[in-house]
């Protein structure tokens, strides 16, 4: 047996509350709720987990659960960490080291404004002794939006695109959010600014880092999510449907954006080729694409990198409606980081949505929420972390 499909995602769940909870949540609480929910969903007892994967918090979570895992991975390289965890879990299961892997996420991106972030679990590069940080910190960059904007300007310059071209990404993604009651921006009932938006809304929103207005930028919310990954013998014995990990790959081009050679290219080119090759599938075989949308530029660039569009033309998938509800290639069907939920690291939200769509559980929803949106049997998932720095790609396929 080869590496492809050596393991399956057998369940995916979220914490009870996501988005903007009225009562502030800790990151740990978000983790634990999601883990309990995915255990209930799959029937796999928490005690059967023998590998733990999280972005920086694995020892604390394992201790909290009373586990003594045989495999501990706490890779924290930004929002793509969770796709990379799935890759690592596949390898560990294939090697016979573990049978059941837990990939878990809890991040109180919203609640931390009131109760603080708590320990661990956030991406941080550089710091004291990092010459890259030293040579960028004097210049007024203020987080991710202030850097990603430079990539859009470069794309505009090289390919003749415009910020308006990219405004179609948040508009279409919002249309998907209106179909997902759990999306923060689903409707006026979920948020005062929820419901459909127009290109003018996007372009006239408050400027954050030109050319990115606020509506080109993702949300900052709470989220907890967990998936369980198991070897085939276990995956076939459960009450939930397996979603097979046909291909997986990871790569990076830089850490500090100062080192991004081509501002219109990410390592998703490399990570997706690794994943496609393992799967024996190509971009033309993908029926659903879940591409990390931290900013409008991110999924458009990523679409070019993973072969869903030619260089310079990724935005056309949205502009021409292909990525929209009813289009030929549904994308970011949960409403994305732009309109569903984005807690700081969005890779887990991608995994939960991929599982929902490919397992058939979207019929019944996750955590009781309805929301079937596609009949896709194959899906590419691409996480992007840092400043367009690190990527993890998965090619997932539904069970036969």
């Amino acid at each position: 047996m080869g590496l492809s499909k050596a393991a399956a995602i057998v369940g995916a769940a979220e914490s009870n509350e996501i988005g903007y909870p009225e009562v502030p949540k800790t990151s740990l609480e978000l983790h634990i709720e999601a883990i309990k929910n995915v255990s209930n969903q799959t029937g796999i007892p928490i005690s059967a987990i023998d590998g733990i994967f999280s972005a920086g918090q694995s020892s604390e979570i394992a201790e909290h659960l009373g586990l003594h895992p045989k495999y501990i991975d706490t890779t924290s390289v930004g929002g793509c960490s969770f796709e990379i965890h799935v890759h690592h879990a596949l390898l560990a299961i294939y090697a016979g080291v573990i049978d059941v892997a837990l990939v878990t996420h809890g991040e109180n991106g919203w609640s931390r404004r009131r109760i603080g972030a708590g320990g661990g679990g956030h991406y941080s590069g550089g710091g004291a002794g990092s010459p890259g940080t030293e040579m960028t910190m004097p210049y007024g960059f203020s987080g991710a939006p202030s850097n990603y904007s430079h990539a859009m300007v470069r794309h505009n310059h090289l390919y003749g695109t415009t910020p308006e071209d990219f405004a179609h990404v948040p508009v279409v993604t919002r249309d998907w959010a209106t179909l997902n009651p759990r999306a923060v921006m689903s409707s006026k009932e979920t948020h005062e600014f929820g419901g459909p938006i127009t290109i003018d809304d996007v372009q006239n929103a408050r400027m954050i880092s030109w050319p990115l207005t606020m509506l080109h930028c993702c949300l900052v919310t709470d989220h907890g999510g967990a998936v369980l990954i198991a070897k085939p013998e276990i995956a076939r014995s459960l009450k939930t449907n397996p979603v097979w990990i046909a291909g997986a790959g990871e790569n990076m081009s830089h850490s500090n954006m100062l080192e991004m050679g081509d501002f219109t290219a990410t390592s998703a080119f490399a990570s997706s080729r690794t994943a496609y090759e393992m799967a024996g599938l190509g971009p033309e075989d993908m029926e659903l694409a879940l591409l990390y949308d931290s900013f409008s530029i991110t999924p458009a660039l990523t679409a070019e990198m993973v072969g869903l569009a030619p260089r310079g033309k990724g935005h056309l998938l949205w502009k021409e409606g292909h990525a929209a509800p009813g289009g030929r290639l549904p994308m970011n069907t949960n409403g994305g980081g732009l309109s569903f939920n984005h807690s700081g690291m969005y890779g887990m939200q991608l995994l939960v949505e991929a599982y929902r769509q490919l397992s058939g559980t979207a019929e019944d929803g996750v955590n009781g929420i309805k929301g079937k949106q596609t009949n896709a049997r194959t899906c590419i998932v691409n996480g992007t972390g840092g400043s367009l720095s690190t990527t993890g790609t998965l090619v997932l396929v539904a069970d036969d």
Partner: protein, 138 residues
């Protein structure tokens, strides 16, 4: 007026850069084995992995690679919005980050990728001078 923006703390690795900056020189690390200039300063050449790195005086000239206009910032920079950040392709190779001068932040369409830039230094503290780049006429 005292400098109210973030001031870097040199390490032994980067100290020569600030020693040069104090004299108005843009010093750049160059690998003695492959001859290539890199930025930021490293313990090892990112191109050939030699550890024989010295400092050369750069031309202080380059071109705008890409830019953005910051409308939201923190600390001392919050008082400056909108301002233009940019990445500069150095004539010697590799790239530096900066706040770009000599441009109109309220008219981003007038800012040109590929524009020629020259370095200048601001004294941030007694010992630290910080390079900024200014668009100049061709």
């Amino acid at each position: 007026m005292s400098y109210n923006k973030p001031i870097p703390t040199p390490s032994p690795l980067t100290q020569p850069f600030y020693d040069g900056a104090r004299e108005g020189k843009l010093l750049l690390p160059r690998c003695q084995d492959c001859n290539r200039v890199h930025w930021y300063p490293r313990h090892i050449c990112p191109f050939c992995h030699s550890m024989n790195i010295d400092w050369i005086e750069g031309s202080g000239e380059g071109r705008v690679h890409t830019f953005a206009v910051q409308h939201r910032a923190f600390g001392g920079w919050a008082e400056e919005v909108p301002f233009v950040t940019a990445y500069i392709d150095l004539n010697e190779g590799d790239r530096m980050a900066t706040v770009l001068r000599g441009v109109d932040a309220n008219d981003p369409a007038s800012i040109r990728i590929g524009a020629k830039v020259k370095v200048e230094f601001d004294q941030a503290s007694e010992d630290i001078h910080i390079p900024f780049w200014r668009v100049v006429e061709e």
